[in-house]
């Protein structure tokens, strides 16, 4: 679908980055009139999505798009280039931005939050930097906008302005900024000195003459430098960021920010190292097992959390490591699974966060122990929660099935049975900490001897929020039955395929 045929394809990248930026400015200008301001957000979000769709269209046609902005250092500058993995991420982020905006309108008004203009403005800025990350053509550009994303989401995390929010914000900024300054920048400059280029290139930039020790050190630096991927022990910022309003947690800490992290890791693995180089490095196995440990440990921590958002946060930490593990398995199918997981986890987790926010707005409950019997009041929300949970677990007929499917095949193909075991155990852990919530909401009752249920007992969140929840739950289902476009997109990534034995 291409609504932008009249526009020269070469302008689409700048449009994709500028539209949210203009949106942010317009939000500030229209700040005094909330209705107008929210329409600006929605119109911007929809426009952005159509632009990304147009870019997708050109990607399928095989038309290369790129954009050089400015040269920062001799032979190295900010430049953007469209490639399938970035398009996938951009599609997910821009689509969910529309939904989150609808949801946020209901949530922010239902909750009577202050400083809503700052909120919507920073939100648009964050999306702007996500778009720049998606389409970045070299590591330097990726690094620059990675930092911009951290800084632009900081005001969102500390939005509430309470002591807890400031503390959370400090952890958030502290970990993300310090890992990126110390490790990521180090890795970027290291790559620049070793390889002499930072461009993303199919098959990687290293020509095999570099020592394995150096490459191994670089890989470890990249994995920990991209703190947004939340590999243990640098995962603490994610639970800390949960002090933010729920729409922020939903879009940024289930989709945009954390996915920017794992997206960067995938990008580095596929386009900087190349899967073949990666498979030869001893350090790959090291990071692979650390990722596997993160999957299991954070699932265990999630079980101990009674606060719903904290539990979801640890669940996110665990799910992010699925993608890290998928990337580090260095097999083409596992990488495909990891790329798909960006999309499928996004729709599943955003549904869960939306539900958590809806529960908070409608019944002011934050803790799981208080949600027993809540199915009577909020049946729709709880059904959606069940759908999201099943998708995260990876059971048919929900989207999460496909990514877990390909990840498992990838692990088998790479002959790493232990990773298969980790994925399976993790699914069981997911069942243990997610499914009891909707089950107890429907089948246990808070007070004995309640009469038969009727619609009049329901007390759901504002309609805007419910619509958003409905759309994402539907997306969970739809992506199970109709994942072909995403799979086709993933297959366009050089060296990555969903077919066995790398045959395409």
């Amino acid at each position: 679908m291409n609504l932008w045929q009249s526009v020269d394809p070469s302008h689409l990248i700048s449009l994709a980055i500028l539209v949210p930026l203009i949106g942010a400015i317009l939000v500030v200008i229209t700040g005094k009139a909330p209705n107008l301001r929210e329409s600006v957000t929605l119109v911007t979000a929809v426009t952005l999505f159509t632009i990304v769709l147009a870019i997708t269209d050109y990607t399928f046609q095989g038309l290369p798009l790129n954009l050089d902005v400015i040269e920062l250092f001799p032979g190295l500058g900010l430049n953007f280039e469209v490639e399938p993995l970035g398009v996938l991420f951009a599609l997910v982020a821009s689509f969910l931005w529309i939904i989150t905006s609808i949801y946020a309108i209901g949530y922010m008004r239902g909750h009577n939050e202050a400083n809503q203009t700052r909120f919507f403005c920073c939100f648009a800025l964050a999306i702007c930097s996500v778009m720049a990350i998606c389409f970045s053509g070299n590591l330097l550009t990726l690094f620059v906008f990675y930092e911009v994303l951290t800084l632009s989401t900081y005001p969102l995390v500390t939005h509430a302005g309470t002591d807890a929010a400031k503390k959370g914000g400090r952890v958030y900024l502290g970990i993300l900024l310090s890992t990126s300054i110390v490790f990521l920048l180090f890795a970027v400059v290291g790559t620049w000195t070793v390889a002499g280029t930072l461009d993303f290139k199919a098959g990687g930039v290293f020509d095999g003459s570099e020592s394995k020790l150096v490459l191994g050190v670089l890989l470890v630096l990249f994995c920990y430098g991209i703190g947004k991927a939340a590999i243990m022990p640098f995962h603490r910022w994610l639970p800390a960021a949960m002090v933010a309003p729920t729409p922020v947690s939903a879009l940024l800490h289930a989709v945009a920010v954390v996915k920017a992290g794992v997206f960067s890791i995938l990008k580095v693995v596929i386009y900087i190292f190349g899967l073949d180089t990666l498979a030869d490095l001893p350090a790959t196995d090291l990071m692979l097992y650390i990722g596997a440990a993160t999957i299991l440990l954070s699932s265990c921590i999630a079980m101990t959390k009674d606060n719903l958002k904290a539990r979801l946060a640890y669940s996110t930490v665990s799910q992010l490591s699925y993608i890290v593990v998928g990337a580090l398995l260095a097999s083409s199918i596992a990488s495909a699974g990891a790329a798909l997981h960006i999309a499928t986890h996004a729709v599943g987790k955003i549904t869960l966060f939306f539900c958590a926010g809806a529960i908070m707005v409608a019944s002011h409950k934050k803790n799981i122990s208080e949600m027993v019997g809540l199915g009577r009041q909020m049946p729709l929300t709880m059904i959606a929660f069940g759908i999201g949970a099943i998708s995260i677990i990876g059971l048919p007929p929900m989207a999460g099935t496909w990514s877990k499917w390909y990840l498992t095949i990838g692990a088998l193909e790479a002959d790493k049975l232990i990773i298969v075991a980790v994925l399976m155990v993790s699914s069981l852990l997911n069942i243990a900490y997610l499914l009891p919530i909707p089950i107890k909401a429907f089948f246990n009752s808070a007070t004995p001897d309640q009469g038969p249920w009727s619609w009049s007992q329901t007390k759901e969140a504002p309609v805007a929020s419910l619509i958003a929840i409905g759309v994402t739950s539907f997306a969970c289902l739809a992506l199970f039955f109709y994942p072909q476009p995403l799979i086709a997109l993933v297959n366009l990534i050089p060296g990555v395929t969903t077919h066995l034995n790398g045959a395409s």
Binding site: F143, S178, I181, V182, L185, F186, V189, W192
Partner: protein, 501 residues
């Protein structure tokens, strides 16, 4: 006619203007006159930089006496670059002084302030353009004496102890340099830098020359406040008037770094100093210790000017580290950081001066709630602070990038890691101030009506620097080109082959 004497203008203009400024007395004319002169010097410096970049070297024989007998003024890419930074900063600080200095300095001492400032500028320019080792000492003394005066002009009486301490340490440093230059003269019979370098190269290992080198290096290290010879600096920067702190922090120590570069690369020769005398290791260790020790101390101070002073010490560590890498990239990182650090520290001290202007205190408590009260000032502080940290798209990132590249080129992964870890400490000390400004409430006890934005005459120079921080962080071609050709010039100039360990 004027073009011929362009090289001398940055010295002559402020030198002649200084006593004249005294005659104007207490009027606004003094300020306008000083600013105009400084702007003229800046314009001359800019033309010199353009000329040096295209033509290479400009030589000027003072009084028509040809070198090596007469005094030679010699401008190449390296000093033209630093000269431009110094004169530009001086002009901006003078613009800023109109409101700031009239608020902080006694009315009857204000003419003195402008006179001392111009003298200091003349001295600094002189150090930069002279091609004569003894002449360099003379200009160093001119600028230092003016600096002691400037520091002691503040209304807070603690500035007197600070100035006295600075005077003692500065004089020791200058004496050491004088002794060193004397020893060189004794051995070679010449004072012209190029002549010196040729004759020193001809001498086989001479103990006199090496003793001279040791004296000069220690003397210069005092002047540039290299750890552990830095103790005079925090006091001087803390208690000096805000405009003076801004000027000194962004120029004086940077010029001393230039002197070190000049002595090492032009006079003694990098190969002699580094390969034979092993000074690169000494400098590297001291620089790394300076980065960590001073950054740490900056994290625990409560006076924000002291924080920035210690931060300056750490930044000097980065410059010396660049020199100690002994490569074109490393030297270039050092040179570019001289320029970039002037931009960021100038902006930071100006922002802090603005807070002092309104609240009369620069304690970290005074910053509480200022994010809403003085939004423009604090935004300037934030951006310049991000630049110190080295966030991309600011000049700090450019310096850091080249410094790390320089270290990694030599496979020195340890140094690269230490540089990055050092910038984390900057996150802490800048973050503390920002947290107070944006997340603490404005204390109810203060009379809140008086606390508002500072006058435009302070905001404009501050924001010029802030915008320069971003502009030169994005369009790096000018600074990179100037610093690269300067570094290459310094290496080639002496026919020293690049050393690779």
């Amino acid at each position: 006619m004027l073009e011929q004497h362009l090289v001398a203008l940055p010295i002559i203009l402020p030198l002649i203007a200084a006593p004249i400024a005294l005659l104007f007395g207490r009027t606004i004319l003094t300020w306008a006159f000083a600013t105009l002169i400084s702007a003229g010097a800046c314009f001359a410096a800019f033309s010199l930089l353009i000329a040096a970049l295209s033509e290479g070297v400009l030589s000027y024989a003072v009084g028509g006496w040809p070198p090596p007998w007469g005094i030679e003024l010699r401008v190449d890419a390296a000093n033209a670059f630093v000269l431009f930074a110094v004169t530009a900063l001086s002009t901006l600080v003078l613009l800023y002084s109109k409101a700031s200095a009239s608020h902080e300095i006694d009315p009857d001492k204000q003419a003195l302030f402008y006179t001392a400032h111009l003298l200091c500028l003349a001295g600094l320019s002189g150090i930069l353009v002279t091609g004569d080792a003894f002449n360099l000492f003379v200009f160093l003394e001119i600028s230092s004496l003016a600096t002691y005066t400037l520091v002691s002009l503040a209304s807070d009486k603690r500035c007197l102890t600070a100035a006295f301490r600075y005077l003692i340490m500065g004089t020791i440093g200058a004496t050491f340099i004088l002794i060193g230059v004397g020893l060189l003269y004794m051995k070679t019979g010449t004072l012209n830098m190029l002549d010196l370098s040729a004759r020193i190269a001809a001498l086989e290992a001479s103990r006199t020359v090496n003793t001279g080198l040791a004296f000069i290096m220690v003397g210069v290290s005092i002047k540039l406040a290299l750890f552990p010879l830095h103790m005079w600096l925090p006091g001087a920067y803390t208690y000096a008037p805000s405009a003076v702190s801004a000027f000194l922090a962004s120029t004086a120590t940077k010029v001393a770094v230039y002197v070190m570069i000049r002595f090492i690369f032009t006079i003694f020769g990098a190969e002699h100093v580094f390969a034979e005398m092993g000074m690169d290791f000494i400098l590297m260790v001291l620089a790394v210790v300076a980065i960590f020790k001073c950054s740490y101390v900056a994290c625990v101070q409560s006076n924000v000017k002291t924080v920035l002073a210690h931060s300056s010490l750490a930044q000097i560590g980065y410059m010396v580290l660049g020199i100690s890498l002994v490569s074109v990239t490393g030297l270039m990182a050092g040179l570019i950081h001289i320029f970039n650090h002037a931009l960021m520290k100038g902006a930071l001290f100006m922002a802090v001066g603005a807070v002092f202007y309104r609240l009369g205190s620069v304690n970290i408590e005074a910053f509480r709630g200022l994010g809403k009260r003085m939004p423009l000032t604090m935004a300037a502080f934030t951006i310049a602070g991000l630049s110190i940290i080295g966030v991309p798209l600011t000049v700090g990132f450019v310096s850091k990038w080249y410094l790390i590249t320089g270290a990694l080129e030599q496979n020195n992964w340890l140094i690269a890691g230490l540089v990055l870890a050092g910038s984390l400490l900057a996150v802490v000390y800048i973050g503390r101030v920002l947290e107070a400004a944006y997340f603490k409430e404005f204390p109810a006890s203060h009379d809140s009506k008086d606390v508002k934005e500072v006058p435009l005459s302070m905001l404009i120079p501050m924001w010029v620097l802030v915008i320069a921080n971003i502009y030169f962080g994005i369009d790096t071609s000018f600074t990179t080109e100037a610093a690269t050709s300067a570094a290459q010039w310094l290496f080639q100039n002496n026919q020293v082959l690049e050393l690779t360990p």
